[in-house]
Assembly symmetry: C2
């Protein structure tokens, strides 16, 4: 392969080649209002009463391209969603990439295009960035970090510790799609054609629900690494509650179910990248579910459980056979590089 078509160490030196690399990226990630990516970007100040939210995530998913998305879209959506889960409106993202010497420029361009499109679709600009190059074999292809800033309106009070006994637990759609797609792709198993990552940005979806049902939504969480079981565990602990989940209510695609059976995985512990758990007032749950199902992100929304006072176990699953099974957080089953 010609050196003109791959990342070289020169691209990481901070000189001329680094500038050319940034110019290539800027074709696809145009930044805020044509303002180019800079060492530090200046943003408009928030309005009175608004609070700032700040979040960061690194993405090391393997493979970097997968059905339904790629590491670029994932990096944009993931941090947008972390902000949205605090009830915030995301206003800016940073983008830092660590590239392996030898990475085809075509792959980098494809990823940059995907990030740029995700940012444009979400209307959350990428305002500042950084690129580094590591020698061959010192990083695997490309790792991406995004950090994000969001604003929370004064009236919004959503948090992991705000769930109450009597609340119900909703999920915005099917579970396990992202995790099983990545694991299946990596295992080289020919999976059914409709298996694909659910990676998407949820901030519009969440903002509409918060606006339509003021005060009714107590807790939001995107069940990424560790899946629904681990996320519910953390929420139950943060609010000092127990959560009971109805197995038969869990929305799971048949293709995910069969791929999980094949791979020996349980969808409850698999990463999702475009779903959210909502813990809300029970008397508003039906109306919230109806509203969720009106939006594409919530088409398969379901009520999956209830919050109760804590007694002896945090999260239990009522199985189809009527029995109860304790759901522990993910433990000793590492699914490396799922996001």
């Amino acid at each position: 392969m010609n050196n003109d078509n791959i990342i070289t160490l020169d691209h990481g030196g901070g000189g001329q080649a680094s500038r050319e690399l940034v110019e290539l990226l800027l074709k696809h990630v145009p930044g805020q209002g044509g303002q180019c990516l800079q060492d530090a970007a200046v943003l408009a100040a928030p309005g009175p009463g608004q609070r700032l939210v700040f979040s960061t995530d690194s993405y090391i998913v393997d493979p970097i391209f997968f059905p339904g998305g790629d590491i670029g879209a994932l990096a944009a959506h993931g941090t947008i969603n972390d902000l949205a889960m605090r009830g915030a409106r995301p206003i800016a993202l940073s983008l830092a990439m660590i590239l392996e010497e030898g990475l085809p420029l075509a792959d980098l361009e494809r990823i940059a295009k995907s990030i740029g499109e995700a940012s444009a679709r979400a209307a959350v600009p990428i305002v500042t960035g950084d690129t580094k190059v590591a020698p061959r074999g010192k990083v695997d292809k490309i790792f991406i970090n995004t950090a994000g800033i969001g604003l929370i309106d004064a009236s919004v009070d959503i948090g992991a510790d705000k769930a109450q006994a009597g609340d119900v637990v909703l999920i915005s759609g099917t579970i396990g799609d992202h995790g099983v797609t990545i694991m299946g792709g990596r295992a080289g198993i020919a999976l059914r054609g409709d298996l694909r990552s659910d990676t998407t940005a949820l901030h519009y979806f969440v903002a509409r629900l918060i606006a339509a049902f003021p005060g009714a939504i107590h807790t939001l969480r995107d069940p990424t690494r560790g899946g629904v079981a681990t996320a519910l565990h953390e929420l139950a602990e943060a609010s000092d509650l127990a959560i009971e989940v109805e197995e038969e209510s869990l929305p799971i695609r048949p293709s995910v179910r069969s791929a999980c059976a094949l791979l020996g995985l349980d969808p409850l512990w698999l990463a999702n990248e475009g779903k959210c758990l909502i813990i809300c007032q029970s008397d508003k749950a039906a109306a919230i579910l109806t509203e969720m199902r009106l939006m594409p992100e919530g088409r398969d929304a379901a009520l999956i459980g209830r919050a109760k006072p804590y007694q002896s176990s945090r999260v239990t699953l009522r199985t189809l056979l009527g029995g109860g099974r304790i759901l522990s957080p993910l433990r000793g089953q590492p699914l490396p590089r799922i996001c």
Copy 2:
């Protein structure tokens, strides 16, 4: 080595081991006012008229420990300095680490301690974080990303494009220290004992100068990757000026000079991690220099050049022999993993 003492893939799974890892980190990086690291942190809103600044950088320096610092201190200082160079007061950092399976926990703790101490010394809290684990051989030991948020007062107007013909160029201290320390360490050359990285946070230093000389400082820049020559090139271009540097005025430690001769490096293109270039009104330069030299960060400050109208070359060096030499930005001399 026992598995209890190293990073394992379990630490990256998002489950119980991930929580234990976060708890270990929180011993050293306590976060804002005891608030623990969360997926997204809520910050107080800025005051009226203030603007937000947002910056990000990844750190992949090799070796991860070096005379004068380590990758942790570098990651805290580097992003603080990117904010400070916009005239901002840094208010929060994020911390995202990508760890290699097998990294000794003792190394991770040492780095976390260093970050925590740098953050505490600088009074810039780390408010949100993320950890990922990549399998052995897929990342080299540890890569760190920090992003940062700062506030700029309404009265401050500092930028790469604000330099004017007639301004002078100051540097806060000796050049090349960080770059030659890293390159020398990597080459395994026994360097003289006083060679050490200059990594430090510059926000107090810069804030004091801005407050003492309102409006006189037009441009600030930390000459990291690519060194002083590349930084001056970028500033000259952004302000559409030419910059003439006096070779004899450049503060360079004798030990850096001799190590550079040995390694075939030029300090003008070497990374600095605790220095800043200041382009300011010429009639205030003497007073600013005096003020700089009162602070430890500016003990070796010097006036090194002047900004002129652009004619044919951006940056020239007036040599000791009286000749002129064009300084290009770093080109084709990659110094990989210098920061």
